[in-house]
């Protein structure tokens, strides 16, 4: 997926604990809202940010981030 393809990203707000690790790793892709729940800033991730999206997915302690290949 990281070899040039796009992907989609989503966050499960029910399980997100708002650690902010996704925002710290990939600030272009995630932002904590006023309730400290992570929100994806884009639904379709540009190819050059796919690696970061995947790293945020791996780092999320509650496994609330899903990154899917298109």
């Amino acid at each position: 997926m990281s070899a040039g393809g796009h992907c989609t990203v989503s966050v499960n707000p029910a399980t997100c604990e708002g650690t902010g690790l996704c925002e710290a790793v990939a600030g272009a892709l995630f932002r904590l809202d006023e309730d400290d729940v992570a929100r994806p800033l884009v639904s379709r991730v540009p190819a050059d940010l796919v690696d970061l999206a995947q790293e945020a997915e791996q780092m999320c302690p509650t496994r609330s981030i899903s990154v899917e290949a298109e």
Binding site: T19, A24, T62
Partner: protein, 408 residues
């Protein structure tokens, strides 16, 4: 306050909402905690903030990947549980056996921790015993600020144990990585640290201290919780006159989370420094720049405004009654960027990974094996305080199914 001269000026924070908010807010940093025990845990992942902390978090994240956790459970945890607790079977009274939960849980957690670290010589009873023996004074040194003993003495004992740990366990593993270990890139901490010396800075002792942190975290809290979980469940069954403790997924995970909430077996007070004037969104409470806060994890997890008027009571069915979007285990794993790295290993499916988790794996087996208290020997709390069991003997009687009643 909190019995620590090193933290005499801490401003107490006890409400769940405030503790939770402060843990997540980056204007509160962990940097000034552990002033005395720095030679054991100084500059490790728990005591640094901001970009430096993020670098470590990124380096170590693969340790808790789904692939790594699945491998640990299949290759290490399940075989060990099958060998020690066994599998459900029918039998007569003669199948009743006695085990002590504390050494069982300690051996299990120590072997898992050793695999995560990448040290060898721990997959035998003598190896786990030796590492346990060394870790005890090291952990005491790391938390010396809370010790009622002479602090210089505690630190000297910890220092000697740390030197022995390096010689017997850490150095051989580190030297092997120095030669060549590219075949298993992200499977253990020492491999990751050996490949990332530049990112970790030039302190040659830091990999040792990070290893101590992982060992202490992976063994101290889970071992304490396993005994408390059994104690809570058996006491609940006795109080509620429940003849068969359910072993289904939802019930057991609710019980495990309740034990995690009620028993903070690690540091009961987390220290945070306020770096600028802050007014909390949750309550409006104000803190000045430079204020040192003592986050009371025990009080937060028993806050009646969040967990109900009976927050001090063990109730495996509590989750539906919790308010304020709180998790049923409260702040047992901390929160914010410093949230416990090993959370998924403990919680399993409750953390979104496809493994049982240490607590569930052991408890479900014990229940299926007909666990009940040993009528001859009572559990013994550690002499150092009320937060750890030193011994917790139980009987297993497979013929009694899910009963918690004693052997005939």
């Amino acid at each position: 306050m909190y019995g620590s001269p090193g933290y005499a000026d801490l401003e107490p924070v006890e409400a769940y909402l405030e503790v939770h908010e402060i843990l997540r807010d980056r204007r509160f940093i962990a940097g000034r905690s552990r002033p005395e025990g720095r030679e054991f845990l100084g500059e490790t992942m728990v005591g640094i903030d901001g970009d430096r902390h993020l670098v470590r978090r990124r380096l170590y994240a693969p340790l808790m990947s789904e692939e790594n956790l699945t491998r640990l459970e299949r290759e290490l945890v399940e075989p060990m549980l099958a060998a020690t607790v066994g599998t459900p079977s029918s039998g007569s009274d003669s199948s009743c056996t006695t085990i002590d939960l504390v050494p069982l849980a300690r051996d299990l957690c120590m072997r898992v921790a050793a695999a995560i670290l990448g040290i060898e010589g721990v997959q035998s009873p003598s190896g786990t015993e030796r590492l346990t023996e060394l870790l005890r004074p090291i952990a005491a040194g790391a938390t010396v600020e809370w010790s009622p003993r002479d602090h210089a003495e505690v630190i000297a004992e910890g220092r000697a144990a740390k030197a022995a740990f390096v010689e017997e366990f850490f150095a051989p593993a580190w030297e092997r990585r120095g030669r060549a270990d590219a075949e298993q890139p992200d499977r253990d901490l020492i491999s990751i640290m050996a490949r990332s010396r530049e990112a970790l800075g030039g302190d040659p002792d830091l990999p040792v201290r990070e290893s101590i942190l992982f060992l202490a975290a992976a063994t101290g809290n889970p071992v304490g919780h396993l005994a408390f979980a059994v104690d809570d469940l058996l006491a609940w069954a006795e109080t509620e006159s429940v003849s068969r403790i359910p072993a289904d997924d939802d019930f057991l995970r609710g019980a495990i989370n309740e034990t995690l909430r009620l028993h903070i077996t690690g540091t009961p007070v987390l220290v945070r420094e306020c770096t600028e004037p802050v007014e909390l969104r949750s309550t409006g409470r104000h803190f000045d720049a430079g204020a040192l806060l003592g986050l009371d994890m025990v009080a937060a997890n028993r806050d009646p405004d969040v967990f109900g008027p009976d927050a001090d009571r063990f109730d495996p069915h509590r989750s539906g009654r919790i308010t304020q979007r709180a998790k049923s285990y409260g702040v047992a794993f901390g929160g914010g960027p410093h949230i416990c790295l090993g959370r998924a290993l403990v919680l399993g499916r409750d953390s979104g990974v496809q493994i049982d988790g240490l607590q569930f794996g052991l408890l479900s087996r014990l229940l299926r094996q007909g666990i009940h208290r040993d009528p001859q020997r009572s559990p013994a709390l550690a002499a150092s305080g009320q937060r750890h069991y030193e011994s917790f003997p139980v009987h297993l009687a497979a013929e009694s199914g899910l009963s918690h009643r004693p052997c005939a």
